[in-house]
Symmetry: C2
Subunit: 302 residues, 2 copies
C-alpha cells in the first residue's frame, strides 16, 4: 500500500488502512511522520477516550463488549486498544483469540488493536497515544483503552484516557486488594461487576466508604452484570455525566494537556533509548563499579 493510498484509506474509514497505519507508527517506519501529521485535530479533540482497568478476573473484556454493544445502538464508530500484559510472542496469539471471540470482531465500524507491554523497549504510551489519535482522526467517536492495571506502563497508558473505569468483582482475593488500592486513585467511576454474586454489595459499600473518606466528591460506584448486559446503560449515563462535568470544569483539558506532555516525553525517551543502549553496549563497560556514575559520565560525554 502506498502512503497516498493509505492516507486516503484513513479518510474513507478503511479498517485495514487504520490497522496498517498504527503498525507503521509502532514500528517506527519512515512514513510515521506523514501519517501522524495528516490527522484531523478537531476529531481527535472531540473524541471520548475511555480507560477500562481492573484486576484479572473482574470481567473487563465482557464489560467492554457490553459497552460497545450499547454505543453501537447509536451507530457510533468505536476504537478499542487492548493492552496485553503478556509477551508479543506467545501472548499476542492468546489475546488475538480473545479478540476473535468478541462479538464485535466482524463489525466493520469497530476497529480493534492489541498492544503488548512486554518485550518492548518502552514507549508504549507513545504508540498507544498514536493509535488513539489515528482512530479518533478516522472517525471513532469513542476509543476504549482496556488494560490490566498493574505496572507502571499500564498506569501511564490509563493517563491517556479522559475518563477511567476501575472494574472490580467480589471474591478476587488478597493480592487483588493490594492492587486495587493503587488503582482506586486513578478511577473516575468504580464498577462492581458480577453484581449478582455473593459479596458484591459488601464490596460496593466498602468502596463507597473508602472513596468518601479521602475526598469531598466521592467516586461514583456502578453495579453491573456484564454477562447479562445488566447495568450497562446506567453506566454509560454515569460516564456521560462525569464527562460533561470534566468538560465544564476544565478537567478534561487538563488531562489532555498532561497526556500530551507525557506522550512527547515518551517519544523523546523512545528515540533516545536505542541510541543510548547501543552506546553502552559498544563501550563494553566493566561490570564493576557504580552504574549510576557510568550513566552520568555517558550523558556528559554526549
Amino acid at each position: 500500500m502506498t502512503i497516498d493510498k493509505l492516507l486516503k484509506g484513513l479518510k474513507a474509514w478503511d479498517p485495514r488502512a487504520i490497522g496498517r497505519a498504527i503498525s507503521l507508527v509502532e514500528n517506527g517506519d519512515d512514513s510515521a511522520e506523514a501519517i501522524l501529521s495528516s490527522l484531523d485535530e478537531d476529531l481527535i479533540s472531540e473524541a471520548t477516550i475511555l480507560g477500562i482497568t481492573g484486576p484479572p478476573g473482574a470481567g473487563k473484556s465482557t464489560l467492554t463488549n457490553g459497552i460497545i454493544s450499547q454505543l453501537r445502538q447509536s451507530r457510533k464508530r468505536i476504537g478499542i486498544i487492548a493492552i496485553d500484559p503478556s509477551s508479543p510472542i506467545s501472548g499476542g496469539a492468546i489475546l488475538g483469540d480473545r479478540i476473535r471471540m468478541m462479538q464485535h470482531a466482524t463489525d466493520q465500524d469497530v476497529v480493534m488493536r492489541s498492544m503488548a507491554t512486554r518485550g518492548r523497549l518502552g514507549g508504549l504510551c507513545a504508540t498507544a497515544g498514536a493509535a488513539v489519535r489515528i482512530m479518533a482522526s478516522c472517525g471513532c467517536s469513542n476509543i476504549i483503552i482496556e488494560t490490566v492495571g498493574v505496572g507502571q506502563s499500564e498506569m501511564d497508558i490509563i493517563r491517556l484516557a479522559d475518563i477511567t473505569l476501575l472494574v472490580l468483582a467480589p471474591g478476587l482475593g488478597d493480592d487483588i486488594q493490594a492492587m486495587k488500592a493503587g488503582l482506586l486513585e486513578v478511577a473516575d467511576i468504580l464498577v462492581v461487576n458480577k453484581a449478582d454474586c455473593k459479596g458484591a454489595d459488601i464490596l460496593a459499600m466498602d468502596l463507597e466508604a473508602v472513596t468518601r473518606k479521602g475526598s469531598a466528591t466521592p467516586t461514583p460506584v456502578s453495579m453491573t452484570v456484564a454477562t447479562e448486559s445488566k447495568g450497562i446503560a446506567e453506566l454509560l449515563d454515569q460516564i456521560e455525566k462525569v464527562d460533561s462535568e470534566h468538560r465544564d470544569s476544565g478537567e478534561r483539558q487538563k488531562r489532555r494537556r498532561g497526556a500530551h506532555n507525557q506522550e512527547v516525553l515518551d517519544w523523546c525517551l523512545e528515540i533516545l533509548r536505542p541510541r543510548l543502549l547501543a552506546e553502552i553496549t559498544k563501550k563494553g563497560l566493566p561490570l564493576l563499579g557504580d552504574p549510576r556514575l557510568k550513566a552520568k559520565k555517558i550523558l556528559e560525554e554526549q
Copy 2:
C-alpha cells in the same frame, strides 16, 4: 546519620543503615554516589540473585518465606526486594502489613525492602539494581526479588536475577493463563505451588509439555506446598543445580552483563526524564499536532 557512620554501618551489617542507604539512592540524594562507589564488588559478583515471579494468588510470598527458612538453616544472610504493584500511597501500607506478617521480620540477618512500581517516574530497574548491589555488598549471599510479573517494568526487574522461578498454582483462571504465556519465557524453573490441590498434576504436565515443545533443554518443573514447607528443600537443590550450570556455561556472566547494561541505560533515562519533562512543560506546546515530531525537535534543539 552522617555518611561516614552510614558507610561503617553498611560494613558492620547494620540493617537500619542498609535500609537508609537504599532510601538515599532511591531518592536521588547527593550521597548516592558515595554509597554506590563504596560497595564490595567481589561480594556483589558472588551473591546469588533469585527472581520469584508469578500471578496473584499463586502463593509467592509463602514460598519466599519457605525459601528463606531453608536458607537460614545454613545461616546465610538474605536480602528481599518485594516489588509492590500498587501505589506508594495506599499500597505501600498494605505491602508493609504483608512484610510484618512474615515470620522473618524480626530476624536480624534478613533485610527486606519493598518498592512500588507505580507513581514513580520510571527507573525502577535502576533503583532495584542499586538495592541488590547494596544488600550483596553488605553480606547477603542470597537476594530474592519477588514480583507479580505482569508489566514491562516488572519484567525488566526480573532480568536483574541470576535465576528466575515462575510460581503457578492450579485454578487461577483464564486471564492468568494469558499472563503465564509471557512469563514462561523468562523462567529457569517452573514451580507448581499448592501441589496438593486439584488440578496440580494436570498443570505440571501441561507446563512440561509446553516447555518441551519449544526447546532442546526443557525447563524443570518443581512441585511445592509452600504452606506446609513441602518440596522447598528439593526446589533449592534444583536452584543450585541450575545456578552451577549457568556458572559453567557462562550464562550467569552473560545475564549479569545484560542486567548491567540495562541498569546503566535505566540510570541514563532516570537522569534525563525529569530534565526533559521540565523542558516540555516549560515550552507549553500546543496540544495540536504530532507528538513524535515535537519530541524529535526538542531533542535536536538540545
